[in-house]
Protein backbone atom coordinates (compact mmCIF):
# COMPACT_ATOMS: atom_id res chain seq x y z
CA UNK A 1 0.00 0.00 0.00
CA UNK A 2 1.46 3.31 -1.03
CA UNK A 3 1.90 6.21 1.38
CA UNK A 4 -0.83 8.04 -0.52
CA UNK A 5 -3.20 5.11 -0.03
CA UNK A 6 -2.43 5.03 3.70
CA UNK A 7 -2.94 8.79 3.87
CA UNK A 8 -6.39 8.44 2.34
CA UNK A 9 -7.30 5.69 4.81
CA UNK A 10 -5.99 7.91 7.63
CA UNK A 11 -8.00 10.92 6.45
CA UNK A 12 -11.18 8.89 6.19
CA UNK A 13 -10.72 7.52 9.70
CA UNK A 14 -10.07 11.04 11.08
CA UNK A 15 -13.11 12.31 9.16
CA UNK A 16 -15.14 9.41 10.46
CA UNK A 17 -14.62 10.60 14.05
CA UNK A 18 -14.75 14.37 13.59
CA UNK A 19 -15.40 15.45 17.17
CA UNK A 20 -12.96 13.00 18.64
CA UNK A 21 -10.28 14.04 16.16
CA UNK A 22 -10.77 17.76 16.84
CA UNK A 23 -10.60 17.21 20.61
CA UNK A 24 -7.49 15.11 20.19
CA UNK A 25 -5.85 17.72 18.00
CA UNK A 26 -6.70 20.55 20.40
CA UNK A 27 -3.52 20.20 22.44
CA UNK A 28 -1.42 20.31 19.26
CA UNK A 29 -3.44 23.21 17.84
CA UNK A 30 -2.98 25.28 21.00
CA UNK A 31 0.66 24.33 21.43
CA UNK A 32 1.79 25.05 17.87
CA UNK A 33 -0.42 28.14 17.64
CA UNK A 34 0.87 29.58 20.91
CA UNK A 35 4.52 29.00 20.06
CA UNK A 36 4.16 30.73 16.70
CA UNK A 37 2.21 33.69 18.13
CA UNK A 38 4.69 34.21 20.96
CA UNK A 39 7.71 34.00 18.72
CA UNK A 40 6.04 36.37 16.23
CA UNK A 41 5.29 38.96 18.93
CA UNK A 42 8.75 38.56 20.45
CA UNK A 43 10.42 39.04 17.07
CA UNK A 44 8.20 42.02 16.33
CA UNK A 45 9.13 43.64 19.63
CA UNK A 46 12.84 43.07 19.00
CA UNK A 47 12.66 44.56 15.53
CA UNK A 48 10.76 47.54 16.87
CA UNK A 49 13.35 48.18 19.57
CA UNK A 50 16.14 47.87 17.08
CA UNK A 51 14.41 50.30 14.70
CA UNK A 52 13.29 52.81 17.26
CA UNK A 53 15.87 53.19 19.93
CA UNK A 54 19.02 52.11 18.32
CA UNK A 55 18.49 52.90 14.71
CA UNK A 56 21.18 50.90 13.04
CA UNK A 57 22.10 53.44 10.36
CA UNK A 58 23.43 55.73 13.10
CA UNK A 59 27.19 56.00 12.98
CA UNK A 60 27.66 58.85 15.46
CA UNK A 61 28.81 58.41 19.07
CA UNK A 62 29.10 61.00 21.83
CA UNK A 63 31.97 60.88 24.28
CA UNK A 64 31.26 61.88 27.87
CA UNK A 65 33.38 62.56 30.87
CA UNK A 66 32.57 60.40 33.84
CA UNK A 67 33.91 61.27 37.25
CA UNK A 68 35.20 58.43 39.37
CA UNK A 69 34.30 58.66 43.05
CA UNK A 70 36.71 56.98 45.39
CA UNK A 71 35.16 54.89 48.11
CA UNK A 72 36.98 56.64 50.97
CA UNK A 73 35.76 60.07 49.90
CA UNK A 74 33.69 61.33 52.79
CA UNK A 75 32.20 64.08 50.72
CA UNK A 76 31.42 63.69 47.07
CA UNK A 77 33.10 66.49 45.27
CA UNK A 78 32.24 67.48 41.77
CA UNK A 79 35.38 68.40 39.99
CA UNK A 80 35.67 70.50 36.88
CA UNK A 81 35.82 68.53 33.69
CA UNK A 82 39.20 68.75 32.00
CA UNK A 83 39.60 71.06 29.02
CA UNK A 84 39.66 69.45 25.61
CA UNK A 85 41.62 71.20 22.88
CA UNK A 86 41.75 70.98 19.11
CA UNK A 87 45.03 69.07 19.48
CA UNK A 88 43.19 66.40 21.47
CA UNK A 89 40.61 66.12 18.72
CA UNK A 90 43.40 65.76 16.15
CA UNK A 91 44.70 62.77 18.12
CA UNK A 92 41.26 61.16 18.03
CA UNK A 93 41.09 61.57 14.25
CA UNK A 94 44.02 59.11 14.00
CA UNK A 95 42.09 56.33 15.76
CA UNK A 96 41.21 53.50 13.30
CA UNK A 97 37.62 53.52 12.09
CA UNK A 98 37.12 57.22 12.75
CA UNK A 99 35.73 59.26 9.89
CA UNK A 100 35.59 62.59 11.66
CA UNK A 101 35.66 64.09 15.12
CA UNK A 102 33.64 67.14 16.13
CA UNK A 103 34.02 69.39 19.16
CA UNK A 104 30.67 70.87 20.12
CA UNK A 105 29.16 73.12 22.79
CA UNK A 106 25.67 74.31 23.56
CA UNK A 107 23.98 77.59 24.40
CA UNK A 108 20.42 78.75 24.89
CA UNK A 109 19.11 82.18 24.11
CA UNK A 110 16.00 84.21 23.50
CA UNK A 111 15.78 85.19 19.85
CA UNK A 112 13.75 88.29 19.04
CA UNK A 113 12.98 89.33 15.49
CA UNK A 114 10.09 90.78 13.49
CA UNK A 115 8.02 90.97 16.69
CA UNK A 116 8.38 87.21 17.20
CA UNK A 117 10.33 85.78 20.11
CA UNK A 118 11.31 82.31 21.16
CA UNK A 119 13.78 80.36 23.27
CA UNK A 120 16.31 78.76 20.98
CA UNK A 121 18.86 75.96 21.21
CA UNK A 122 22.19 77.12 19.86
CA UNK A 123 24.85 74.62 18.92
CA UNK A 124 28.41 75.80 18.72
CA UNK A 125 30.25 74.10 15.86
CA UNK A 126 33.36 74.45 13.74
CA UNK A 127 33.69 74.38 9.96
CA UNK A 128 34.11 70.56 9.85
CA UNK A 129 30.58 70.07 11.21
CA UNK A 130 28.83 70.64 7.88
CA UNK A 131 30.55 67.92 5.88
CA UNK A 132 30.58 65.44 8.77
CA UNK A 133 26.85 65.77 9.51
CA UNK A 134 25.76 66.22 5.88
CA UNK A 135 24.18 69.59 6.57
CA UNK A 136 22.32 70.83 3.54
CA UNK A 137 22.62 74.58 3.00
CA UNK A 138 19.49 76.17 1.55
CA UNK A 139 20.68 79.77 1.43
CA UNK A 140 23.95 81.58 2.13
CA UNK A 141 27.11 79.83 3.30
CA UNK A 142 28.27 77.49 6.07
CA UNK A 143 30.87 78.58 8.63
CA UNK A 144 34.47 78.95 7.58
CA UNK A 145 37.63 78.52 9.60
CA UNK A 146 37.94 82.28 10.02
CA UNK A 147 34.50 82.53 11.65
CA UNK A 148 35.89 80.59 14.62
CA UNK A 149 39.35 82.11 14.54
CA UNK A 150 38.18 85.68 14.63
CA UNK A 151 34.95 85.00 16.55
CA UNK A 152 32.80 86.56 13.88
CA UNK A 153 29.35 87.40 15.20
CA UNK A 154 27.59 85.25 12.62
CA UNK A 155 24.69 82.82 12.97
CA UNK A 156 23.02 80.08 10.87
CA UNK A 157 19.31 79.41 11.23
CA UNK A 158 17.51 76.26 10.15
CA UNK A 159 14.53 76.08 7.83
CA UNK A 160 12.09 75.86 10.76
CA UNK A 161 13.40 79.05 12.33
CA UNK A 162 13.32 80.81 9.00
CA UNK A 163 9.68 79.91 8.57
CA UNK A 164 8.80 81.08 12.07
CA UNK A 165 10.63 84.43 12.09
CA UNK A 166 10.65 85.46 8.42
CA UNK A 167 8.11 85.65 5.64
CA UNK A 168 8.65 83.54 2.52
CA UNK A 169 9.96 86.15 0.13
CA UNK A 170 11.99 88.01 2.73
CA UNK A 171 15.75 88.11 2.23
CA UNK A 172 17.42 86.72 5.36
CA UNK A 173 21.09 86.68 4.40
CA UNK A 174 22.79 89.67 6.02
CA UNK A 175 19.86 90.32 8.37
CA UNK A 176 20.79 91.21 11.90
CA UNK A 177 18.88 89.22 14.56
CA UNK A 178 18.93 89.66 18.31
CA UNK A 179 19.67 86.69 20.58
CA UNK A 180 19.70 87.31 24.31
CA UNK A 181 20.11 91.06 23.66
CA UNK A 182 23.12 90.68 21.40
CA UNK A 183 23.04 91.25 17.63
CA UNK A 184 24.23 88.60 15.18
CA UNK A 185 24.36 88.52 11.41
CA UNK A 186 22.55 85.68 9.63
CA UNK A 187 24.89 84.22 6.98
CA UNK A 188 22.94 81.15 5.94
CA UNK A 189 19.92 78.89 6.23
CA UNK A 190 20.25 75.08 6.46
CA UNK A 191 17.72 72.33 6.18
CA UNK A 192 16.44 71.46 9.65
CA UNK A 193 17.67 68.16 11.12
CA UNK A 194 14.86 67.98 13.69
CA UNK A 195 12.82 64.81 13.08
CA UNK A 196 9.34 65.54 11.71
CA UNK A 197 7.53 63.95 14.66
CA UNK A 198 9.28 66.20 17.21
CA UNK A 199 8.21 69.49 15.60
CA UNK A 200 4.91 69.45 17.47
CA UNK A 201 6.72 69.88 20.82
CA UNK A 202 7.42 73.38 22.12
CA UNK A 203 11.15 72.79 22.53
CA UNK A 204 11.57 72.12 18.85
CA UNK A 205 8.79 74.19 17.30
CA UNK A 206 11.00 77.23 16.64
CA UNK A 207 13.86 75.28 15.14
CA UNK A 208 17.54 75.43 16.00
CA UNK A 209 20.54 77.59 15.18
CA UNK A 210 24.31 77.17 14.79
CA UNK A 211 27.05 79.55 15.91
CA UNK A 212 30.82 79.34 15.72
CA UNK A 213 31.99 77.28 18.67
CA UNK A 214 34.37 79.93 19.98
CA UNK A 215 31.61 82.53 19.89
CA UNK A 216 29.22 80.35 21.93
CA UNK A 217 31.99 79.80 24.43
CA UNK A 218 32.56 83.54 24.78
CA UNK A 219 28.94 84.67 24.80
CA UNK A 220 27.60 81.96 27.13
CA UNK A 221 30.63 81.34 29.28
CA UNK A 222 31.05 77.71 28.24
CA UNK A 223 34.18 75.79 27.64
CA UNK A 224 34.93 75.75 23.95
CA UNK A 225 34.65 71.94 23.60
CA UNK A 226 31.97 70.62 25.89
CA UNK A 227 31.30 67.37 24.16
CA UNK A 228 33.03 65.31 21.56
CA UNK A 229 31.09 63.65 18.76
CA UNK A 230 32.80 60.87 16.85
CA UNK A 231 31.54 59.72 13.47
CA UNK A 232 32.58 56.19 12.60
CA UNK A 233 33.28 55.01 9.08
CA UNK A 234 30.30 52.63 9.17
CA UNK A 235 27.40 51.79 11.52
CA UNK A 236 28.75 48.26 12.11
CA UNK A 237 31.88 49.47 13.87
CA UNK A 238 30.23 52.32 15.76
CA UNK A 239 30.38 50.51 19.09
CA UNK A 240 34.08 49.59 18.92
CA UNK A 241 35.05 52.95 17.52
CA UNK A 242 33.28 54.64 20.44
CA UNK A 243 35.22 52.49 22.87
CA UNK A 244 38.54 53.11 21.12
CA UNK A 245 38.13 56.87 20.93
CA UNK A 246 36.94 57.14 24.54
CA UNK A 247 40.05 55.23 25.68
CA UNK A 248 42.28 57.31 23.42
CA UNK A 249 40.85 60.53 24.86
CA UNK A 250 41.28 59.29 28.43
CA UNK A 251 44.89 58.43 27.66
CA UNK A 252 45.53 61.74 25.89
CA UNK A 253 44.11 63.92 28.65
CA UNK A 254 44.95 61.63 31.57
CA UNK A 255 42.40 63.18 33.95
CA UNK A 256 42.94 62.55 37.65
CA UNK A 257 39.41 61.83 38.79
CA UNK A 258 37.61 60.40 35.82
CA UNK A 259 37.58 58.88 32.39
CA UNK A 260 35.85 59.25 29.05
CA UNK A 261 33.10 56.87 28.02
CA UNK A 262 31.01 56.48 24.89
CA UNK A 263 27.22 56.26 24.80
CA UNK A 264 27.14 52.74 23.49
CA UNK A 265 23.51 51.83 22.89
CA UNK A 266 24.24 48.51 21.26
CA UNK A 267 25.12 47.16 24.68
CA UNK A 268 21.65 48.06 25.98
CA UNK A 269 20.13 46.62 22.86
CA UNK A 270 21.84 43.30 23.45
CA UNK A 271 20.71 43.26 27.05
CA UNK A 272 17.12 44.04 26.17
CA UNK A 273 17.14 41.43 23.43
CA UNK A 274 18.41 38.80 25.80
CA UNK A 275 15.57 39.63 28.22
CA UNK A 276 13.09 39.29 25.38
CA UNK A 277 14.65 36.00 24.37
CA UNK A 278 14.33 34.67 27.92
CA UNK A 279 10.66 35.70 28.08
CA UNK A 280 10.01 34.14 24.67
CA UNK A 281 11.71 30.92 25.71
CA UNK A 282 9.79 30.82 28.98
CA UNK A 283 6.35 31.25 27.45
CA UNK A 284 7.44 29.05 24.57
CA UNK A 285 8.28 26.21 26.93
CA UNK A 286 4.84 26.50 28.53
CA UNK A 287 3.41 26.08 25.05
CA UNK A 288 5.80 23.16 24.62
CA UNK A 289 4.16 21.47 27.60
CA UNK A 290 0.82 21.88 25.86
CA UNK A 291 2.36 20.06 22.89
CA UNK A 292 3.52 17.26 25.16
CA UNK A 293 0.07 16.92 26.72
CA UNK A 294 -1.42 17.02 23.22
CA UNK A 295 0.96 14.25 22.16
CA UNK A 296 -0.12 12.06 25.06
CA UNK A 297 -3.76 12.69 24.08
CA UNK A 298 -2.96 11.53 20.57
CA UNK A 299 -1.31 8.39 21.92
CA UNK A 300 -4.35 7.67 24.06
CA UNK A 301 -6.77 8.04 21.18
CA UNK A 302 -4.59 5.94 18.90
CA UNK A 303 -4.56 3.16 21.51
CA UNK A 304 -8.36 3.33 21.67
CA UNK A 305 -8.47 3.24 17.89
CA UNK A 306 -6.24 0.15 17.77
CA UNK A 307 -8.54 -1.64 20.21
CA UNK A 308 -11.64 -0.60 18.30
CA UNK A 309 -10.18 -1.79 15.05
CA UNK A 310 -8.68 -5.03 16.30
CA UNK A 311 -10.85 -7.04 13.96
CA UNK A 312 -9.99 -4.82 10.98
CA UNK A 313 -6.32 -5.33 11.75
CA UNK A 314 -6.82 -9.12 11.92
CA UNK A 315 -8.69 -9.06 8.64
CA UNK A 316 -6.02 -6.98 6.91
CA UNK A 317 -3.41 -9.45 8.12
CA UNK A 318 -5.50 -12.37 6.84
CA UNK A 319 -5.63 -10.60 3.47
CA UNK A 320 -1.85 -10.42 3.40
CA UNK A 321 -0.83 -7.25 5.23
CA UNK A 322 2.60 -7.57 6.83
CA UNK A 323 3.53 -6.18 10.27
CA UNK A 324 5.37 -3.32 8.60
CA UNK A 325 2.31 -2.35 6.61
CA UNK A 326 0.07 -2.21 9.67
CA UNK A 327 2.71 -0.28 11.62
CA UNK A 328 3.08 2.23 8.80
CA UNK A 329 -0.67 2.65 8.47
CA UNK A 330 -1.18 3.54 12.13
CA UNK A 331 1.91 5.72 12.18
CA UNK A 332 0.67 7.64 9.16
CA UNK A 333 -2.67 8.00 10.89
CA UNK A 334 -1.19 9.57 14.00
CA UNK A 335 1.18 11.78 11.99
CA UNK A 336 -1.76 12.91 9.84
CA UNK A 337 -3.72 13.72 12.98
CA UNK A 338 -0.95 15.80 14.58
CA UNK A 339 0.14 17.48 11.33
CA UNK A 340 -3.43 18.49 10.69
CA UNK A 341 -3.53 19.89 14.22
CA UNK A 342 -0.27 21.70 13.48
CA UNK A 343 -1.69 23.21 10.29
CA UNK A 344 -4.84 24.40 12.06
CA UNK A 345 -2.65 25.85 14.83
CA UNK A 346 -0.56 27.68 12.22
CA UNK A 347 -3.75 29.02 10.65
CA UNK A 348 -4.98 30.33 14.00
CA UNK A 349 -1.56 31.81 14.75
CA UNK A 350 -1.46 33.70 11.45
CA UNK A 351 -4.94 35.12 12.10
CA UNK A 352 -4.14 35.98 15.73
CA UNK A 353 -0.84 37.61 14.77
CA UNK A 354 -2.64 39.72 12.20
CA UNK A 355 -5.12 40.88 14.84
CA UNK A 356 -2.35 41.42 17.40
CA UNK A 357 -0.44 43.60 14.93
CA UNK A 358 -3.45 45.90 14.70
CA UNK A 359 -3.71 46.21 18.48
CA UNK A 360 -0.04 46.35 19.43
CA UNK A 361 2.12 49.41 18.78
CA UNK A 362 4.37 47.32 16.56
CA UNK A 363 4.03 44.70 13.89
CA UNK A 364 4.33 41.05 14.97
CA UNK A 365 6.19 39.12 12.28
CA UNK A 366 5.75 35.42 11.51
CA UNK A 367 8.90 33.99 10.05
CA UNK A 368 8.47 31.12 7.57
CA UNK A 369 11.18 29.22 9.43
CA UNK A 370 9.13 29.21 12.65
CA UNK A 371 6.07 27.99 10.71
CA UNK A 372 8.15 25.22 9.14
CA UNK A 373 9.61 24.20 12.48
CA UNK A 374 6.12 24.24 14.06
CA UNK A 375 4.76 21.99 11.33
CA UNK A 376 7.66 19.57 11.41
CA UNK A 377 7.47 19.43 15.18
CA UNK A 378 3.78 18.55 15.14
CA UNK A 379 4.47 15.77 12.63
CA UNK A 380 7.36 14.62 14.82
CA UNK A 381 5.02 14.40 17.82
CA UNK A 382 2.77 12.18 15.70
CA UNK A 383 5.68 9.81 15.11
CA UNK A 384 6.85 9.78 18.74
CA UNK A 385 3.43 9.25 20.27
CA UNK A 386 2.18 7.06 17.41
CA UNK A 387 4.95 4.47 17.66
CA UNK A 388 3.56 2.72 20.73
CA UNK A 389 -0.02 2.24 19.43
CA UNK A 390 1.18 1.38 15.92
CA UNK A 391 3.56 -1.20 17.29
CA UNK A 392 0.78 -2.67 19.39
CA UNK A 393 -1.45 -2.94 16.31
CA UNK A 394 1.24 -4.55 14.20
CA UNK A 395 1.94 -7.21 16.81
CA UNK A 396 -1.66 -8.45 17.04
CA UNK A 397 -1.98 -12.04 15.94
CA UNK A 398 -4.47 -12.40 13.09
CA UNK A 399 -6.55 -15.17 14.66
CA UNK A 400 -6.75 -13.43 18.03
CA UNK A 401 -7.77 -10.26 16.26
CA UNK A 402 -10.43 -12.01 14.18
CA UNK A 403 -11.81 -13.76 17.26
CA UNK A 404 -12.03 -10.41 19.08
CA UNK A 405 -15.62 -9.62 20.06
Amino acid sequence: MSIWESLKVAMSSIWGHKIRSILTMLGIIIGVGAVIIIVAIGEGAKNQIADDMFSTDENEIQLYYEQIFLEDDTEMMWVEEPEITDEDLAVLREVPGVQSVLGINQGWGMMVHNEEQSDMTITGVDEGYFAAKNIEMLEGRPFLARDNDSMNRVILIDSVTREKFFSDGEDVIGEIVEVSDNPYKVVGVYKSTIPEELLQYDDFASGEMLMPRALVSMMFGNREIESVSVIAESPEIVSETGQLTADALTEQIAPEDGMYISNDFTQYEEELNSYLTIITLFIGSIAGISLLVGGIGVMNIMLVSVTERTREIGLRKALGATRGRILLQFLIESVTLTSLGGLIGIGFAVAATFVASQLLPFEATISPLVVLIGFCFSAFIGIIFGILPANKASKLSPIEALRYE
Binding site: G16, G320, R323, P398, L402
Partner: protein, 225 residues
Protein backbone atom coordinates in the same frame (compact mmCIF):
# COMPACT_ATOMS: atom_id res chain seq x y z
CA UNK B 1 -0.88 -30.11 0.22
CA UNK B 2 0.38 -32.47 2.85
CA UNK B 3 0.00 -32.27 6.63
CA UNK B 4 1.83 -34.80 8.77
CA UNK B 5 1.42 -35.21 12.52
CA UNK B 6 0.21 -31.64 13.02
CA UNK B 7 -0.25 -30.83 16.70
CA UNK B 8 -1.50 -27.63 18.20
CA UNK B 9 -1.51 -26.69 21.87
CA UNK B 10 -2.79 -23.34 23.09
CA UNK B 11 -1.35 -21.59 26.11
CA UNK B 12 2.00 -21.93 27.76
CA UNK B 13 3.18 -23.15 31.15
CA UNK B 14 0.54 -24.41 33.57
CA UNK B 15 -2.54 -23.94 31.43
CA UNK B 16 -1.95 -26.00 28.31
CA UNK B 17 -4.92 -26.71 26.09
CA UNK B 18 -4.14 -29.38 23.50
CA UNK B 19 -6.47 -28.87 20.53
CA UNK B 20 -5.02 -30.92 17.67
CA UNK B 21 -3.45 -34.26 18.58
CA UNK B 22 -1.71 -35.24 15.38
CA UNK B 23 -3.42 -34.62 12.08
CA UNK B 24 -2.25 -36.48 8.97
CA UNK B 25 -3.91 -35.23 5.84
CA UNK B 26 -3.19 -35.09 2.13
CA UNK B 27 -5.20 -32.90 -0.16
CA UNK B 28 -4.84 -32.88 -3.93
CA UNK B 29 -5.21 -29.78 -6.02
CA UNK B 30 -8.80 -29.27 -7.15
CA UNK B 31 -10.48 -31.17 -4.33
CA UNK B 32 -13.67 -29.94 -2.71
CA UNK B 33 -13.59 -30.86 0.96
CA UNK B 34 -15.92 -30.45 3.92
CA UNK B 35 -14.58 -30.62 7.46
CA UNK B 36 -17.22 -31.63 9.97
CA UNK B 37 -17.31 -32.47 13.63
CA UNK B 38 -18.71 -31.28 16.93
CA UNK B 39 -18.10 -27.83 18.30
CA UNK B 40 -14.68 -27.47 19.86
CA UNK B 41 -13.18 -30.39 17.97
CA UNK B 42 -10.55 -28.15 16.35
CA UNK B 43 -12.00 -27.52 12.88
CA UNK B 44 -11.31 -23.77 12.88
CA UNK B 45 -7.86 -24.34 14.36
CA UNK B 46 -7.03 -26.72 11.52
CA UNK B 47 -8.35 -24.27 8.94
CA UNK B 48 -6.25 -21.46 10.42
CA UNK B 49 -3.14 -23.61 10.18
CA UNK B 50 -3.90 -24.57 6.60
CA UNK B 51 -4.45 -20.88 5.82
CA UNK B 52 -1.21 -19.69 7.49
CA UNK B 53 -3.11 -17.59 10.00
CA UNK B 54 -1.68 -19.79 12.73
CA UNK B 55 1.36 -22.01 13.02
CA UNK B 56 1.31 -25.59 14.34
CA UNK B 57 3.08 -26.42 17.61
CA UNK B 58 4.70 -29.39 15.90
CA UNK B 59 4.43 -31.40 12.71
CA UNK B 60 5.04 -30.69 9.04
CA UNK B 61 3.00 -28.74 6.56
CA UNK B 62 4.01 -28.83 2.91
CA UNK B 63 2.33 -26.74 0.26
CA UNK B 64 3.26 -27.51 -3.35
CA UNK B 65 6.20 -29.59 -1.94
CA UNK B 66 7.44 -26.51 -0.10
CA UNK B 67 8.13 -26.74 3.65
CA UNK B 68 6.30 -24.03 5.57
CA UNK B 69 7.39 -25.00 9.05
CA UNK B 70 9.74 -22.29 10.17
CA UNK B 71 9.02 -19.28 8.01
CA UNK B 72 8.93 -15.70 9.21
CA UNK B 73 5.82 -13.60 9.86
CA UNK B 74 6.46 -11.59 6.71
CA UNK B 75 6.65 -14.79 4.66
CA UNK B 76 3.38 -16.04 6.17
CA UNK B 77 1.73 -12.79 5.12
CA UNK B 78 2.95 -13.37 1.57
CA UNK B 79 1.76 -17.02 1.54
CA UNK B 80 -1.70 -15.91 2.72
CA UNK B 81 -1.81 -13.20 0.15
CA UNK B 82 -0.72 -15.38 -2.78
CA UNK B 83 -2.21 -18.78 -2.12
CA UNK B 84 -5.20 -18.44 0.16
CA UNK B 85 -8.62 -16.86 -0.14
CA UNK B 86 -10.56 -16.65 3.13
CA UNK B 87 -14.33 -16.64 3.57
CA UNK B 88 -15.58 -16.12 7.11
CA UNK B 89 -18.86 -16.96 8.80
CA UNK B 90 -19.30 -13.30 9.89
CA UNK B 91 -18.20 -11.98 6.46
CA UNK B 92 -15.69 -9.48 7.96
CA UNK B 93 -16.11 -6.74 5.40
CA UNK B 94 -14.66 -3.31 6.15
CA UNK B 95 -17.70 -1.25 7.09
CA UNK B 96 -16.53 2.10 5.70
CA UNK B 97 -15.49 0.74 2.30
CA UNK B 98 -17.91 -0.05 -0.51
CA UNK B 99 -18.13 -3.50 -2.10
CA UNK B 100 -15.63 -2.68 -4.83
CA UNK B 101 -13.04 -1.31 -2.39
CA UNK B 102 -13.50 -4.30 -0.08
CA UNK B 103 -12.80 -6.67 -2.94
CA UNK B 104 -9.77 -4.60 -3.98
CA UNK B 105 -8.03 -4.72 -0.60
CA UNK B 106 -5.95 -7.94 -0.97
CA UNK B 107 -4.58 -6.55 -4.24
CA UNK B 108 -3.30 -3.49 -2.42
CA UNK B 109 -1.08 -5.74 -0.29
CA UNK B 110 -0.01 -7.66 -3.39
CA UNK B 111 1.24 -4.37 -4.88
CA UNK B 112 -1.11 -4.36 -7.88
CA UNK B 113 -1.49 -0.94 -9.52
CA UNK B 114 -4.72 0.92 -8.92
CA UNK B 115 -6.23 0.70 -12.38
CA UNK B 116 -5.71 -3.05 -12.57
CA UNK B 117 -7.09 -3.46 -9.04
CA UNK B 118 -10.29 -1.71 -10.03
CA UNK B 119 -10.70 -3.86 -13.08
CA UNK B 120 -10.05 -7.17 -11.35
CA UNK B 121 -12.34 -6.31 -8.43
CA UNK B 122 -15.08 -5.40 -10.90
CA UNK B 123 -14.68 -8.72 -12.72
CA UNK B 124 -14.90 -10.66 -9.47
CA UNK B 125 -18.05 -8.88 -8.36
CA UNK B 126 -19.57 -9.63 -11.76
CA UNK B 127 -18.59 -13.27 -11.35
CA UNK B 128 -20.45 -13.53 -8.02
CA UNK B 129 -23.44 -11.75 -9.56
CA UNK B 130 -23.15 -8.38 -7.84
CA UNK B 131 -22.39 -6.07 -10.76
CA UNK B 132 -25.26 -3.85 -9.64
CA UNK B 133 -24.05 -3.48 -6.05
CA UNK B 134 -20.45 -2.37 -6.52
CA UNK B 135 -20.70 0.99 -4.79
CA UNK B 136 -22.87 -0.19 -1.90
CA UNK B 137 -21.55 -0.15 1.64
CA UNK B 138 -21.68 -3.47 3.56
CA UNK B 139 -24.60 -2.31 5.73
CA UNK B 140 -26.62 -1.72 2.57
CA UNK B 141 -26.28 -5.38 1.55
CA UNK B 142 -28.12 -8.55 2.61
CA UNK B 143 -26.27 -11.42 4.33
CA UNK B 144 -26.02 -13.44 1.14
CA UNK B 145 -24.78 -10.44 -0.79
CA UNK B 146 -22.19 -9.71 1.88
CA UNK B 147 -20.94 -13.29 1.69
CA UNK B 148 -20.71 -13.02 -2.07
CA UNK B 149 -18.64 -9.84 -1.72
CA UNK B 150 -16.42 -11.77 0.71
CA UNK B 151 -16.07 -14.60 -1.83
CA UNK B 152 -15.20 -12.10 -4.55
CA UNK B 153 -12.56 -10.70 -2.21
CA UNK B 154 -11.22 -14.23 -1.59
CA UNK B 155 -11.00 -14.83 -5.34
CA UNK B 156 -9.49 -11.59 -6.51
CA UNK B 157 -5.88 -12.65 -5.93
CA UNK B 158 -6.42 -15.84 -7.96
CA UNK B 159 -5.54 -18.05 -4.99
CA UNK B 160 -5.23 -21.81 -5.51
CA UNK B 161 -7.03 -22.55 -2.23
CA UNK B 162 -10.32 -21.15 -0.92
CA UNK B 163 -10.86 -21.66 2.82
CA UNK B 164 -14.36 -21.07 4.10
CA UNK B 165 -15.10 -21.47 7.82
CA UNK B 166 -18.86 -22.00 8.11
CA UNK B 167 -19.59 -19.78 5.10
CA UNK B 168 -23.31 -20.46 5.35
CA UNK B 169 -23.52 -20.38 9.15
CA UNK B 170 -25.19 -16.98 9.18
CA UNK B 171 -27.45 -17.50 6.18
CA UNK B 172 -30.87 -19.07 5.56
CA UNK B 173 -31.13 -22.29 3.57
CA UNK B 174 -32.11 -20.65 0.28
CA UNK B 175 -29.18 -18.22 0.40
CA UNK B 176 -26.91 -21.05 1.56
CA UNK B 177 -27.79 -22.93 -1.59
CA UNK B 178 -26.76 -19.99 -3.77
CA UNK B 179 -23.45 -19.63 -1.95
CA UNK B 180 -22.74 -23.37 -2.22
CA UNK B 181 -23.51 -23.34 -5.95
CA UNK B 182 -21.01 -20.52 -6.32
CA UNK B 183 -18.37 -22.51 -4.42
CA UNK B 184 -19.06 -25.58 -6.60
CA UNK B 185 -18.53 -23.42 -9.64
CA UNK B 186 -15.20 -22.15 -8.29
CA UNK B 187 -14.15 -25.74 -7.57
CA UNK B 188 -15.06 -26.79 -11.10
CA UNK B 189 -12.72 -24.08 -12.38
CA UNK B 190 -9.89 -26.02 -10.68
CA UNK B 191 -9.50 -24.38 -7.29
CA UNK B 192 -9.10 -26.35 -4.09
CA UNK B 193 -12.04 -25.47 -1.84
CA UNK B 194 -12.15 -26.43 1.84
CA UNK B 195 -15.16 -25.61 3.97
CA UNK B 196 -16.04 -26.15 7.60
CA UNK B 197 -19.69 -26.89 8.20
CA UNK B 198 -22.16 -28.42 10.62
CA UNK B 199 -24.83 -29.04 8.01
CA UNK B 200 -25.04 -32.36 6.14
CA UNK B 201 -26.83 -30.61 3.33
CA UNK B 202 -23.95 -28.19 2.81
CA UNK B 203 -21.44 -31.03 3.04
CA UNK B 204 -23.30 -32.94 0.36
CA UNK B 205 -22.07 -30.49 -2.27
CA UNK B 206 -18.47 -31.60 -1.66
CA UNK B 207 -16.44 -34.60 -2.90
CA UNK B 208 -14.79 -35.53 0.36
CA UNK B 209 -15.92 -35.28 3.95
CA UNK B 210 -13.42 -35.27 6.82
CA UNK B 211 -14.72 -35.65 10.37
CA UNK B 212 -12.82 -34.35 13.39
CA UNK B 213 -13.30 -35.51 16.98
CA UNK B 214 -11.26 -34.00 19.81
CA UNK B 215 -8.42 -33.01 17.58
CA UNK B 216 -8.18 -36.25 15.60
CA UNK B 217 -9.51 -37.30 12.19
CA UNK B 218 -12.02 -40.06 12.85
CA UNK B 219 -13.49 -40.34 9.40
CA UNK B 220 -12.38 -39.45 5.88
CA UNK B 221 -14.65 -40.56 3.08
CA UNK B 222 -15.32 -39.80 -0.54
CA UNK B 223 -18.69 -38.37 -1.31
CA UNK B 224 -19.81 -39.89 -4.57
CA UNK B 225 -23.18 -38.28 -4.95
Amino acid sequence: MKLSDIKKTYGTGGLMVPVLHGIDLEIEEGEFIAIMGPSGSGKSTLMNIIGFLDTPSSGNYELNSEQTGRVKQRELARLRNEHIGFVFQQFFLMPRLNALKNVESPLIYAGVPKRERRERARQMLEKVGLSDRMTHLPNELSGGQKQRVAIARALVNHPSIILADEPTGALDSKTSEQIMKLLVELNEEGRTVIIVTHEEEVASYTNRIITLHDGLITDDRRNLS
